[in-house]
């Protein structure tokens, strides 16, 4: 028993999680970019004075693997004694942050008094996906590059605000290199505002509990989280479990091998990606922080989804990858389209851990698509940023969900919002029949979305996958169908690679069809009523009923 009573500890824990959540509320409500305010593509975290993650908001997990290291990097450039209330240190370096430039981290020191300073009590960090960071394409996400210099503006830790507000001199340098400076500025302001909220909240907690009780509470919280994580891991059988899958390609034509060896040894777990391919000359490499983030995410899904995400819970989880490999590349390896890897990263760990925890197994996801169309319209620049999700793989006890964000956790963006703000028209957005993998529990369906360009011309950059290797089923479930991306120009249909760049002209239609998710269990074991429901709701055709599920005649089978 530590030096804090359970009642105070319980209330304190609530308060700390509330601070991280409230930071997120502030960021979402004051941000300008669609990715943040509609897509929830941001994160918040709260750290103690030692740089240990105490609490995080329930937002995008991809940023959170990076956060502990962000504080370390900030401190190596701005030692503790140089920090003052109101400071905001920005960075977006791929290795220090979460693996690509649009993710801008803003770190602020927290003091016992938000106005007057005093003892340094911790750090607030938030990360937002910015609309643009310069580079070769609008949106700064491109797979088809050779080195990081082409991807945009790299920002090593730099003070962008102090107690007097944003530092306009530094901002001039940044905003002079991005496509939509006013939006980037607005989002940086929102990020600063978010940390101001955290500073006030934490100072209030210090005033209420006193520094020593607060510290004792944090120690206890981290220790218990660690203890709990260790006991969960210890419950799994020791051994090394392996799984592999492939990404379609990078910018070239070669598939990229994803291989994980997951070793459970007593109360620790190690995920080793060293057996994967080498880093590639395409903007898709997964810097180690990104690898860490989604590996740790998978462990959490397989242990206790409700366990607080903090330094203690992360300690028994080790993520390693050979230097120079795809999962631990060295600068200037390009990485701006690395979001295309996160689903597979999770799925490979999932494949390995399913061997020990079969009840948590699931078929593979539909993957997702993140097309960015940018150009100028009537002389004004625009960036159309979209997020498309298909279904989940069939799960051990039920069908895969339809259209739900896989692994990371963002929302889609309404068609009516997109059309009101961008020179595009969505022609169609619907689920496609016969695409989800058959099984005792069916995989979710593919999503089809068609986007017509209304501006004279634009560039589209794609970072999808599952065009070549369709999502595998689990436990005998069938694969889902593969994805397909087509540029329709008049009567021509141009097939696009999953991670390509293409020029679009007015009237062109970009047709994105995601893959279907994998099924779970043998299709022959599917409940007939479920087959009937799928048929009547149009998720499967009569042909699938007959050929896949083997039901030749039924009064409800009308054609």
């Amino acid at each position: 028993m530590s030096g804090i009573d359970p009642v105070t500890l319980s209330v304190l824990w609530n308060s700390l999680i509330a601070v991280a959540d409230d930071m997120g509320v502030t960021l979402r409500r004051t941000a300008y970019s669609a990715a943040v305010r509609e897509g929830d593509d941001f994160s918040t975290g709260l750290f103690d004075a030692n740089g240990r993650l105490i609490a995080q908001g329930n937002f995008s997990p991809g940023h959170l693997g990076a956060m502990p290291y962000v504080v370390e990097h900030v401190l190596s450039h701005y030692p503790r004694d140089t920090l003052a209330p109101g400071d905001c240190i920005l960075l977006n370096d791929s290795a220090m942050g979460s693996g690509h430039y649009p993710d801008c981290f803003v770190t602020s020191p927290l003091f016992a008094s938000a106005e007057n300073g005093g003892e340094l009590i911790g750090f607030a960090v938030n990360c937002a996906h910015h609309v643009d960071m310069g580079g070769a394409v609008p949106g700064s996400q491109i797979v088809d590059v050779k080195e990081a210099f082409q991807e945009g503006l790299r920002i090593l830790p730099i003070r962008i605000a102090d107690r007097d507000g944003l530092r306009e001199d530094v901002l001039r340098l940044i905003l002079g290199n991005v496509r939509l400076p006013s939006i980037v500025r607005g989002d940086l302001l929102a990020q600063r505002n978010t940390n101001v909220v955290a500073a006030e909240r934490m100072a209030r907690l210090v005033a209420k509990y006193g520094q020593s009780v607060l510290n004792a509470g944090i120690d206890a919280l981290l220790a218990r989280s660690e203890q709990r994580m260790r006991s969960l891991i210890a419950a799994l059988p020791d051994g090394t479990y392996e799984y592999e899958d492939k990404l379609d390609d990078g910018a070239g034509n070669e598939p990229i091998r994803f291989f994980a060896a997951v070793t459970i040894a007593n109360d620790e777990i190690t995920i080793d990606w060293s057996g994967s391919d080498d880093q590639v000359a395409a903007g898709i490499n997964s810097y180690i922080n990104y690898t860490r983030a989604y590996s740790a995410f998978a462990v959490k899904v397989f242990t206790d989804p409700l366990l607080p995400q903090n330094w203690g819970a992360n300690r028994p989880v080790r993520v390693v990858a050979r230097e120079g490999s795809f999962f631990n590349p060295t600068y200037p390896a390009p990485s701006s389209g690395r979001a295309a890897t996160q689903i597979r990263l999770f799925e490979v760990v999932c494949g390995a851990l399913s061997q020990v925890v079969p009840e948590r197994a699931m078929g593979s996801f539909s993957h997702w698509s993140n097309p960015i169309v940018g150009g100028t319209n009537d002389g004004k620049p625009f960036i159309f940023y979209d997020l498309l999700y298909g279904g989940y793989g069939g799960r051990a006890t039920k069908d895969g969900a339809e259209s739900l964000c896989p692994v990371f956790n963002a929302t889609n963006i309404p068609v009516e919002v997109h059309e009101a703000q961008n020179p595009i028209r969505v022609r169609r957005m619907e689920l496609v029949a016969d695409t989800g993998g058959a099984g005792r529990f069916r995989g979710g369906s593919a999503l089809l979305k068609e986007i017509e360009l209304l501006a004279d011309e634009a560039t589209v950059s794609l970072s999808g996958d599952r065009h070549r290797f369709s999502p595998p089923g689990a436990a005998g479930g069938a694969n889902g169908t593969a994805a397909r991306t087509t540029l329709v120009r008049g009567d021509d249909e141009i097939t696009l690679g999953s991670k390509s760049i293409a020029e679009m002209k007015k009237g062109d239609v970009l047709q994105l069809r995601l893959s279907g998710a994998g099924g779970y269990g043998p299709p022959g074991e599917r409940d007939q009523e479920a087959v009937r429901r799928d048929y009547e709701d149009g998720y499967i055709s009569a042909r699938t009923v007959r050929e896949v599920y083997g039901i030749e005649e039924a009064e409800w089978l009308t054609d």
């Binding site: 009573d5 004051t30 939006i183 206890a220 739900l404």
Partner: protein, 729 residues
């Protein structure tokens, strides 16, 4: 004149009768009869009639709040709906917004949509964001016939139509309604351009669908009530409470039933407004803590604050887990902290809610099979409940059972005393509610020190004072009739109708004045058409605005006068002020755009017998004769052991409890330090000001007065508690 307020809830049906001649009120409470809600209503009326004889023929108006619409959604027993969408967009309502409500749970599911996919049919048409028609609606007889045939095959009862950008141009939706009506006159058709003309297609479809889904249920309920009232001789007016706190005619409630989904909770917030008006308090936080949740609302300058969207049927009150409804509703934050919320201690940390034991099996101390510790059990262990007064003395409480459950489930695993563990549950529940309160006040730019708290619901008055203290709220009022708060709150409501539409316009462009004027003209036409007489109507304008480029809007009131340069200037400064209040800064140089325009009309004098600000003299089944009050000191009716850590150094007491380890006896010495002989007062007999620590009991709720706070009854029978600041810090 007599008015009757009725609130049909999931568990209870509450009634209140108000006589404006004497300003007296009488209360009644009966168990609800969900299968035929009118039975409970008539039973409730009979209960009232036994206390205060009257005939329905003598009642001038009946005000009704109901959970009929909400329950239809929660229980998925609404109508079979057919949904019509734009070609290519069949799946909008199935796709939803695609976000998990729990990031780390990949085994969760989205809420079931209110329509199966087979009942969603597309029509060939397309409207653009600016309202222009890109592709005319295919109204060919064959197409319409196919649509009707499809719906017939699925036994559709009502139809919802939600086409892309219909908020900007409703012609296609209207044409479909006409065509369907021509084929099947019995089908009620809900149009998104009528029900919720706002952009964001999923939310609009979800709202329109919900409207169609609950319509037959609500219509049946209202017409059976009207018939039952008529059969008993009622010839007055009937009004239905909307989610936004205004009243609707039964006809409009039947046409737009989605607007009454939150009618009960909205009426509860109005109770805060009623108390505030009587006590001359412009700003009130309302705190309603019942069996499964706690709800927090706000009254600002005498009016409930409203929101333009909320979710229904969520999972554990998590955002993204429910069905979004874009309707104007009294703003409420609801959290899983009710008397039945379950407490656990994973990892040595006490957690409370959101899981709830509900009314069945309920808390352990109810003795109905509940096995998990709840907030009510903890409060009983702490000595805060008066066992023989609980629920009017109709329910015996099993204190030994609660003690055992707290000991085995919390105290022993945590290595602390039973009393400390129970206190932990109480404190964590308070912390959860404090967070909701802060969110409703400070985060929305409201300083709690300027607010009074009105506490009601079965458990609200027990937690209110400590909550008020941590927030800096200086006064807590537990109204007379707190147990039937929503029914009483309705007496405050006024007929109200509002209309709104999405149209994005930049405010700095003066050439848009004509556009704005046209918007308000059309809104005015829609609103005024719903009132029989427009003579005394008060209209108000609000806009939802944001800095151009942002994605979330703030609602601000704008001037009523002509739309000119002054209007634009005033609107801008209103917005900057509201933004600064909400977020701490305003960007005066940024341009502002309005996304939604809203017009509301209130008919303040339409209700006969509505009290006009004069104090109401309470009465009830066991009325107090206030005029015969003596000025003698109040005497407690009993004394019971209750725990007040405020009286000792709480942290020190609990720390020493922790040191005693697992073997601390349940009623060990440590507990004695905060445990005192606490006087219990009968609320009706509270003839003078008393100081805490004290417990005040009546049939509806127990009020806990912690040390330092003072309580007295005001002339209206409300319990007014003055909160000592910073007593425990």
């Amino acid at each position: 004149m007599l008015r009757l307020g009725i609130d049909t809830g999931g568990t209870f049906t509450d009634c209140v009768l108000h006589d404006s001649a004497t300003d007296e009120r009488w209360f009644g409470k009966t168990l609800s009869t969900p299968a035929a809600p009118q039975q409970a209503v008539m039973a409730g009326i009979q209960t009232l009639q036994r206390v205060r004889p009257f005939e329905l023929a003598d009642v001038d108006s009946i005000l009704l709040a109901t959970t009929a619409a909400t329950n239809a959604i929660l229980e998925r027993n609404g109508a079979r709906v057919g949904l019509v969408t734009t070609l290519g967009f069949r799946d909008v309502v199935i796709l939803g917004r695609a976000k998990r409500y729990d990031t780390y749970d990949l085994h969760l599911d989205k809420p079931d949509p209110l329509v199966p996919r087979r009942c969603i049919v597309e029509v060939d048409e397309r409207v653009a964001a600016d309202g222009s028609v890109l592709r005319p609606l295919d109204l060919a007889p064959a197409s319409i016939a196919a649509l009707v045939e499809r719906f017939d095959a699925e036994s559709v009862e009502t139809v919802a139509v939600c086409l892309l950008h219909a908020y900007a141009n409703p012609v296609h939706e209207q044409a479909i309604a006409n065509a369907l009506k021509a084929h099947r006159p019995s089908w009620e058709v809900s149009l998104s351009s009528d029900v919720s003309p706002k952009y964001r297609e999923y939310e609009r479809t979800s709202t329109t669908l919900a409207n169609a889904y609950v319509m037959p249920v609500v219509q049946r309920f209202l017409s059976s009530l009207q018939a039952a009232f008529a059969a008993s001789g009622f010839v007055g007016e009937m009004h239905v409470m909307q989610s936004n706190g205004g009243l609707l005619s039964p006809e409009l409630a039947s046409a737009y039933p989605v607007n009454i989904v939150e009618s009960g909770p909205a009426a509860g917030v109005l109770l805060g407004g009623l108390i505030g008006r009587r006590e001359c308090l412009p700003h009130v936080l309302t705190f309603d803590m019942g069996g499964t949740t706690a709800k927090v609302g706000a009254i600002e300058n005498g009016e409930p604050t409203v929101t333009s969207t909320f979710e229904v049927d969520g999972m554990n009150l998590r955002q993204w887990s429910g069905l979004p409804l874009n309707i104007s509703a009294v703003e409420l934050i609801e959290i899983g902290a009710g008397g039945g919320s379950i407490a656990t201690a994973p990892m040595g940390i006490i957690r409370v809610g959101p899981a709830s034991a509900g009314a069945v099996p309920g808390p352990v101390c109810y003795g109905r099979g509940g096995e998990q510790v709840t907030i009510t059990d903890a409060n009983l262990v702490l000595g805060y409940l008066v066992a023989d007064r609980f629920a009017g003395g109709q329910m015996a409480l099993d204190e030994a059972g609660a003690m055992t459950a707290v000991r085995t489930q919390l105290a022993e695993p945590l290595g602390i005393s039973v009393r400390a563990a129970a206190w932990g549950v109480h404190a964590v529940a308070n912390a959860n509610m404090e967070r909701a309160m802060r969110s409703m006040s400070i985060e929305r730019g409201r300083d709690p020190r300027d607010y009074a708290m009105v506490a009601f619901g079965g458990a609200g008055p027990l937690h209110a004072c400590r909550l008020a203290r941590t927030l800096g709220v200086r006064q807590v009022i537990v109204p007379y009739g707190a147990g039937v708060g929503s029914a009483v709150g309705m007496l405050e409501a006024e007929p109200r109708f509002e209309a709104s539409l999405t149209h994005i316009l930049a405010l700095d462009d003066q050439s848009t004045c004509a556009g704005m004027e046209a918007i308000y003209r059309s809104l005015e036409e829609r609103v005024l058409a719903t009132f029989e007489s427009t003579a005394d109507l008060i209209t108000r304008r609000h806009v939802y605005a944001r800095y151009a480029g942002q994605g979330y809007e703030l609602r601000v009131e704008v001037p009523r006068g002509p739309i000119d340069q002054d209007f634009v200037t005033a609107t801008k400064s209103q917005f900057h002020a509201a933004y600064a209040a909400a977020y701490g800064y305003a960007d005066e140089s940024a341009s502002i755009e309005v996304t939604e325009w809203q017009l509301s009309a209130i008919s303040p004098n339409a209700l006969p017998g509505r009290s006009e600000g004069q104090p109401l003299v309470p009465s009830g089944s066991d009325p107090v004769k206030l005029d015969s009050r003596t000025h003698a000191a109040a005497t407690p009716v009993a004394v019971q052991k209750a725990y007040f850590p405020e009286l000792v150094d709480a942290v020190a007491a609990l720390d020493s409890g922790a040191e005693h380890g697992e073997n601390t006896p349940p009623d060990g010495k440590v507990d004695e330090r905060g445990l005192i002989d606490c006087p219990v007062f009968e609320r009706h007999a509270l003839v003078s000001r008393i100081s805490g620590p004290a417990i005040i009991a009546d049939d509806e709720a127990t009020v806990l007065i912690p040390p330092g706070d003072d309580a007295e009854l005001n002339a209206d029978g409300d319990l007014v508690i003055t909160i000592a600041q910073e007593y425990d810090e």
